[in-house]
Every structure is written in structure tokens, then in C-alpha cells.
């Protein structure tokens, strides 16, 4: 299973490192809001990592190996979940570095956590879409999703971007603390639910791909 994670993680790692570099450059240059904005675009990077790693996958090869289909699914989904967690952690650390332990940081951390709650199910849905329809067929829908996400990220970025206006906006939409626990828990629960359905979807599609 580790071999599958290692191979599939190539695009996750390269995507993440690229944007870490960009955000660090921006932070060092003093444009701390821009840095947070860049990292907030995980809506683009996560589907993109899933898409490119799956476009380079060969399930016909994996089916030759003594590994159960559900273990392959589990490896892929755990990788996606791990990536979502890494993005959340990096975004939070960056916000902490930019704002310190101030109310400005807590407001941004709340918003980041709320938004990040949707990433695990988003990753699972991307995988399921690809297993259902194939990576090539899903390229256009996922690229469309990324464009929509980019527009959304611009809006999200604007909120947390400026220290003055952002603080005012975030103060108005402050997230109650129970929601900070409930939303990630709901995101994880939805992810686990999708993870239960995913092997069946993959198996059906896989069989279709294997037929001569």
C-alpha cells in the first residue's frame, strides 16, 4: 500500500511544494495577505493533484498485483485526506506567522477551518468521479471546477487579505466555536461515507476498463 501512496503522491508533493515556495516568497516580500490567498486556493490544487495523479495511474497494472481493490481505494483516499490536512495546517501556520496570536489570526483560522472542512469530501468526490467516468473524461469537468474555485478563492482571499477591511468583515461573520468542531467532523463523516461507497464505484468502472 505504501508503494501506491508513494507513487500517487508525486503530483500532490510537487503541487504543494510549488505553492509553498510561492507563498514563502510572498511572505518574505511582506505581502502576507497575498501569501494566504495563494494557499487558500487549495480548492484548485487538491482536485488538480487528484486529476494528474490519476491520469498517470494504471489500474490494469495494480490489478495484476496481489493487492485488494479496497486497499488501493483506501490508499488513494487516505493520501487525499492527508493532503487536505497538510493544506489546512500550512494555511493556518501561514496565518499565524502573518498575524501572530491576535484576534485577526483567530478570525482567519476559523474561516480557514470552516472552508477546509469541505476538502476531504471534495477529494473523495474527485476520485469517485474519475473512477466512475475515467480520468480523461473528468479532465474538463475538473478544470471547470478549478476555474470556479479560482473565482471563489479570489473572493475568499479578499476577505482575509487586508488587515483592516478583512478584520471588519471577519468580525461580522465570526464563526461560533461549536461550528469549528462540528463542520470538520461533518466533513470527515461525509468523507468516510463516500469512502465506503468508493470501492464499488471503482470496481465497476475497473471491470469495464479491463474488458477486452
Amino acid at each position: 500500500m505504501l508503494a501506491i501512496v508513494r507513487r500517487s503522491s508525486f503530483f500532490y508533493v510537487t503541487h504543494f511544494l510549488t505553492y509553498v515556495m510561492m507563498s514563502l516568497v510572498e511572505t518574505v516580500a511582506g505581502r502576507r495577505g497575498i501569501a494566504v490567498f495563494i494557499v487558500s486556493m487549495a480548492f484548485i490544487w487538491l482536485p488538480s493533484s487528484v486529476l494528474w495523479s490519476e491520469r498517470n495511474e494504471s489500474y490494469a497494472f495494480l490489478r495484476l498485483l496481489p493487492v485488494r481493490d479496497r486497499d488501493v481505494v483506501r490508499a488513494k483516499l487516505l493520501l487525499g485526506l492527508g493532503a487536505a490536512a497538510v493544506y489546512w495546517l500550512w494555511l493556518s501556520l501561514l496565518a499565524l506567522a502573518a498575524w501572530g496570536a491576535t484576534p485577526g489570526f483567530f478570525a482567519r483560522f476559523s474561516l480557514i477551518t470552516v472552508v477546509a472542512s469541505s476538502w476531504p469530501p471534495l477529494v473523495a468526490l474527485c476520485y469517485m468521479g474519475i473512477w466512475q467516468r475515467g480520468a480523461r473524461a473528468m479532465t474538463f469537468p475538473l478544470l471547470t471546477l478549478m476555474v470556479v474555485a479560482f473565482i471563489g478563492a479570489v473572493g475568499f482571499g479578499r476577505i482575509i487579505l487586508s488587515p483592516g477591511r478583512g478584520d471588519v468583515l471577519l468580525g461580522r461573520i465570526s464563526v461560533p466555536w461549536p461550528l469549528l468542531l462540528l463542520l470538520p467532523a461533518a466533513g470527515l463523516a461525509l468523507f468516510l461515507l463516500l469512502a465506503r461507497v468508493a470501492p464499488r464505484i471503482k470496481w465497476k468502472n475497473d471491470e469495464h476498463l479491463q474488458l477486452p
Partner: protein, 290 residues
């Protein structure tokens, strides 16, 4: 001896094709050849046996296990070479082996590198840049390197030169030589792998046509060449695939032991002679009537 592979009434249907009620068994020490024309269902059958997809109906057990209960255990003991090698095209043979090795309990790296060396496959050339024959040989190297008990080979001789084809034949004979392992190959008989098969299964249009011991089969099927009028009409009518030549006729006899007494006079007079049929003659006749 306990069979390694038992398939009973396997069926699989998909758009435009159906494989119907194929049964076979394979015991240690055996080489079974599955032969048939294009589109006969050889690849579908071998994919079913290799657990690439489930059968719609029928029962399949390898090493007394079904895929639903022991997929990992079965695949750990089976070396499967698909017709189209599906490996990562941007990996080198060494990288592919490194990826595959941890999945197997009996991976033998020395065996793998020995085979790469024997087949003159560059260890550091990307898989996509290997020739068609080298891809097949790499697939075989990978399948042999985890010390399988059963080899399932789908048209393994395709794209091989004569020397490698001969080596493949020798490898398969050596593989089953100890009497503990078995091989199932699907092939066109013209590939030369019919030479190593001890038993044959002919498929045509998704259905089994004939299953037999190869030597027994070839003892029954003979070409009878005879001068015009040398055989009486009833005897000649028992021959099939009749061909007319300027110097006489040839017909295929499907049960020579039963017919030999009737032919004795013509054979003694030199008006007829008998020649061994090839497996391909039998297959073509049974599948296409020619």
C-alpha cells in the same frame, strides 16, 4: 494429483461478445494451451482466470480458493502476463520491479535481474521505449520473478523473435519440470507454443469446441492423401476438409484408428498415404470448417 486451477461453466458477457460455459482443470506439472482464432474468447478467459474481472456465472477456484475469499493469496502465487502489458510507461524496468516487489511474498530480485540480462532488456530504459518483444519479455520476467506456482500467459510469443520464442518454450518446460508448477497459455497455434502444450482447449466464438490431450488428439487426426478413385465413396465421405490437387485428393480424418483398417488396402497398394495433421489443421477445420 490435486488440481491447481478448476473452472466450471464459466460465463462472461459484455457488449458484442459472450463466453459460454468454459470448464477446465490444470494440475501441477501440466501445460494447457488455449487456442482459437481471433475473437474466440482466449483473452476474456485468461483474464477471468487471472481475476481481472469476475465471471457472470460459474465457479472458479485456484489453489482451492475463490478470488472473493483469497485474491491476495492467489495473485501472490500466480504469474500473469497480459496480452498488452499495462505497466507505467515512464518507469524503467528497475523502477517497475521496485514498485511491484513489496507486494509479493516470494520476490527474487536476483532472478529478475538475471532474466533482464538474459533478454538483454535495458534496466534503465523507460518502459515506453522498449520494443514490443522486449515489453513481452519484461512482462514474463516480472511474472517469473515472484516464484509463482502457476503461470497464465496471454499470447506470450507475440512479437518474439525465433531465439526468444525457443527460450520461452524451454523456460516453460523447465518451469513445470519439477512437477509442482503449471502453465496455461493462450496463443495462436502458429506461434509455436502448441509444441509445449500437453493438453489443448480449442475455443471458437466464445465457446469450447474441443478439450483433449494433445498426443491423443494428433493420433486421431491425420491427413489422408489418395489418388482419384482409390477410396470408395463411403470411405472418402468420412474425410473432411477435402482438397483436390492435380495428382489426387487430400482429406482430414478425425478418427484414424477407427478408419485405418478400411484404408489398409489403399495404403498397401500405394494409392494412399497418411500424414500427421498439425494442431492448426484441426483448429482451422473445427472453427472454420476449412
Amino acid at each position: 494429483m490435486d488440481p491447481m486451477l478448476e473452472a466450471r461453466d464459466l460465463c462472461k458477457s459484455y457488449e458484442g461478445f459472450s463466453l459460454a460455459k468454459v470448464s477446465l482443470t490444470l494440475s501441477p506439472g501440466g501445460i494447457l494451451g488455449v487456442f482459437g482464432p481471433n475473437g474466440a474468447g482466449k483473452t476474456t478467459l485468461i483474464k477471468l482466470l487471472a481475476g481481472q474481472f469476475p465471471a457472470d456465472a460459474g465457479d472458479l477456484r485456484l489453489f482451492h480458493l475463490g478470488y472473493d475469499e483469497g485474491e491476495r493469496e492467489i495473485k501472490d502465487r500466480v504469474g500473469y502476463c497480459p496480452q498488452e502489458p499495462p505497466y507505467y510507461p515512464d518507469y524503467t524496468p528497475v523502477e517497475l520491479a521496485r514498485f511491484a516487489a513489496p507486494f509479493y511474498s516470494r520476490w527474487d530480485g536476483a532472478c529478475f535481474y538475471g532474466l533482464l540480462d538474459r533478454f538483454r532488456i535495458s534496466a534503465h530504459k523507460k518502459f515506453r521505449h522498449l520494443s514490443a518483444g522486449q515489453k513481452t519479455l519484461f512482462s514474463l520476467s516480472l511474472a517469473l520473478s515472484h516464484q509463482p506456482d502457476l503461470l497464465l500467459l496471454d499470447e506470450p510469443a507475440a512479437g518474439l523473435d525465433d531465439a526468444n520464442r525457443r527460450f520461452l518454450q524451454d523456460t516453460l518446460r523447465a518451469f513445470v519440470g519439477g512437477g509442482e508448477k503449471a502453465v496455461l497459455i493462450s496463443s495462436h497455434v502458429s506461434d509455436g507454443l502448441d509444441e509445449v502444450a500437453e493438453r489443448v482447449l480449442f475455443l471458437g466464438r466464445g465457446a469450447p469446441i474441443l478439450a483433449a490431450d494433445k498426443e491423443e488428439l494428433l493420433a486421431r487426426w491425420k491427413w489422408v492423401h489418395f489418388r482419384e478413385g482409390a477410396l470408395d465413396g463411403a470411405l472418402a465421405a468420412r474425410l473432411t476438409a477435402m482438397r483436390h490437387h492435380p495428382f489426387g485428393n487430400s482429406g482430414l480424418c478425425s478418427d484414424f484408428p477407427a478408419m485405418s483398417a478400411s484404408l489398409a488396402d489403399a495404403l498397401a497398394a500405394g494409392d494412399a498415404r497418411v500424414e500427421n495433421a498439425r494442431l492448426s489443421d484441426v483448429l482451422v477445420h473445427l472453427t472454420q470448417g476449412g
